[in-house]
Symmetry: C2
Subunit: 389 residues, 2 copies
């Protein structure tokens, strides 16, 4: 297997400690040892979500977590306001429709942030709305939405705020109880530095109320059944033991170091990328970039898909391109996971080198050097979280 520098916004590079734990012999999820570990993990997840409510683990991708939010709270016919600012916003709105919700979409141009007034207006027009759906970070555009402000709006409204924080939780603070977030969803393969396979979800008291009357059918994602099982110390279905053990390690280290250190490192990678891109004369795509990833505009006349492919082929650096309407127009660099300073520098060089291959002299060599120097300086100030304890 060829060795690549993985710089995508999920999955992310895993630290050696996580890889090592993935290779441990299998154990059974109903043994006392594993049950103890499982309960520690659930307790520690609450400390990352900053909530007094239980946090649950589904064996699923993030999309399974998004489905869990809907099927546990909604009933067919419910009015739902869905903020659609990219591919994942579209997916969630579509999903809500599949489950019978009457969805009003707040369409936000891709790369832009939702405006408070748009949501205020929608809530005013729909006093019976049951939920507002929003991505904290819309992975397809790199935008960070003003989740705290939105929570202030839903606080005085009937609707709950459901937050897809799959590409945000663990990368930036989203204190669930303090901000009043009602449903909060995370995924394993992002800032939690694990392989794809788990989603995490928590429900506020206001959201629990909805679960009491929700009429969407559910079984695999039935959160009330899961809660009952968890209260007896167990998972509802077989635990994905390998993932959960690795999650235990990551949470112990995160909380041992303090989440602020994890956030600071991701913030530093974001800042270094933005500063370096601008130094090289490139534009940032999103109006309010999330620290978890940076979407960079590919200069006009250059095919971003070819840039991405060239970065992979000639530099062994994997980034993501744009999806759907953004195909060929942006590349997206992730800042989560076990990213070393040199990984970002290699990515910046690969980006410049690949753009120059498409259009000779598009980025001046001196600018590339200056960009890398600035990026290195920023990263040096905030070293990677030491995982080995």
């Amino acid at each position: 297997m060829k060795s690549y520098t993985l710089m995508t916004p999920g999955p992310v590079p895993l630290p050696p400690e996580v890889l090592e734990i993935m290779a441990r012999p299998m154990e059974h999820h109903r043994t006392p040892e594993f049950v103890q570990l499982f309960n520690r993990v659930l307790a520690n997840l609450k400390k990352v979500f900053l909530t007094e409510e239980p946090v649950f683990i589904h064996t699923s991708t993030g999309s399974g977590g998004m489905e869990s939010a809907l099927v546990n709270c909604l009933s067919p016919g419910d009015e739902v306001i869905s903020i659609v600012s990219g591919k994942f916003g579209e997916r969630w709105a579509d999903m809500a429709e599949v489950y019978g919700a009457k969805v009003t979409r707040i369409e936000v141009p891709w790369g832009q942030v939702v405006r408070r007034e748009q949501v205020e207006d929608a809530l005013r027009k729909q006093p019976n709305a049951v939920a507002v759906l929003c991505q904290a970070c819309e992975t397809s555009t790199g935008v960070l939405h003003p989740i705290r402000e939105l929570a202030q709006l839903t606080k005085n409204h009937r609707a709950v705020l459901m937050v897809d924080a799959i590409t945000a939780m663990g990368a930036l603070p989203l204190p669930m109880d303090e901000w009043g977030l009602d449903v909060l969803i995370a995924g394993s393969q992002k800032a939690f530095m694990l392989p794809t396979g788990l989603s995490f979800i928590s429900f506020s008291k206001k959201a629990w109320k909805l679960t009491e009357t929700s009429k969407c059918p559910k079984f695999y994602f039935d959160i009330r059944a899961e809660r009952e099982a968890n209260e007896n110390g167990e998972s509802l279905f077989s635990s994905a033991v390998t993932h959960v053990r690795a999650l235990d390690l990551v949470l112990e280290i995160f909380l041992g170091q303090g989440m602020h250190r994890v956030y600071e490192r991701i913030q530093a990678l974001s800042k270094a990328t933005i500063v370096a891109a601008r130094e090289m004369g490139l534009e940032i795509f999103s109006s309010t970039p999330s620290p978890s990833l940076t979407a960079i505009k590919i200069p006009d006349g250059i095919d971003g898909q070819k840039v991405r492919a060239e970065m992979e082929k000639s530099f062994a650096v994997i980034v993501m391109g744009g999806q759907d309407q953004l195909k060929g127009k942006i590349i997206r660099i992730g800042h989560m996971g076990a990213i070393r300073d040199e990984d970002l520098i290699a990515t910046l060089r690969a980006l410049a080198g690949s753009i120059n291959k498409m259009k000779l002299g598009a980025i001046d060599d001196a600018k590339v050097e200056a960009a890398c120097t600035k990026a290195s300086g920023i990263l040096r100030e905030t070293p990677a979280v030491v995982l080995k304890t």
Copy 2:
């Protein structure tokens, strides 16, 4: 972490090759290399399912696969016949009810096999039944149901036969197309020797017809959307890369060796366990034991839960006890996964030693020795499938 001999009917002990591959660096599921691997895995799964129809991978436990079968084929109000012979039969019937099916349960005493006439009768009484649900192997009792016979009944009926083969697929032949099985479900943490986290599912032409009109809401488990994505070479949602890579290895080895060798080894472990248990004066709980696991009756007056705990504490051997109505009455020994001859022998000694600790002299030492000798002899004739190629 203490080292245990894991002898449960899933999760199962993983071969070193699988553990090693779990520890490989993360890669992205949309890269050409992974897409190639993913498509090879899908093609190889068809060779294990022995079907011309596509086989799909969900990131979920086996229960997610059971849900996928229902939500993709059924509509609320559909008549369903559910064979309930243990905990997993109960779960599937409950699940079908959650999704609005009118479920008629064929109750089979736990440990017994369903009789052909029971199903024939039910189908006659319900000409409009849309599906018959049955476990191939009911994990909670160790019973193997006559799936081939049931398929002969559904072949001439409107109903499809849905088979939960989570604890059977890969452990015994279940040729989907030849037998006429309509929905076939498997799970990663059983005979496929992987950690928990994936389910596999395939639909016959008769079942595909149902998916066209099915009105159960679905998104995460939407098999028509998954099929469309797979036809474009990709998974619908993020792939659980780590698991899928390990699955690729297991399938290559299984198919390289021939599935008959995998089945023979599991059959030998089953036979050795049954012969040894009887030699020690113990009874087999199930009327028709599945090769994938053996449920052994704990002698009257002895608490099986204590036997299980003692096997763990004093012998570091992990087996499963009975669930619900069988609590304390049986122990279940798994025969899937990377089980060496000495693992089964250690399990037999642990079982006898633990029973004797509860009731001095319950099993004669000479009988234990004779049992182990017989078991060793049987296993020697059918060595474990060599994994290193």
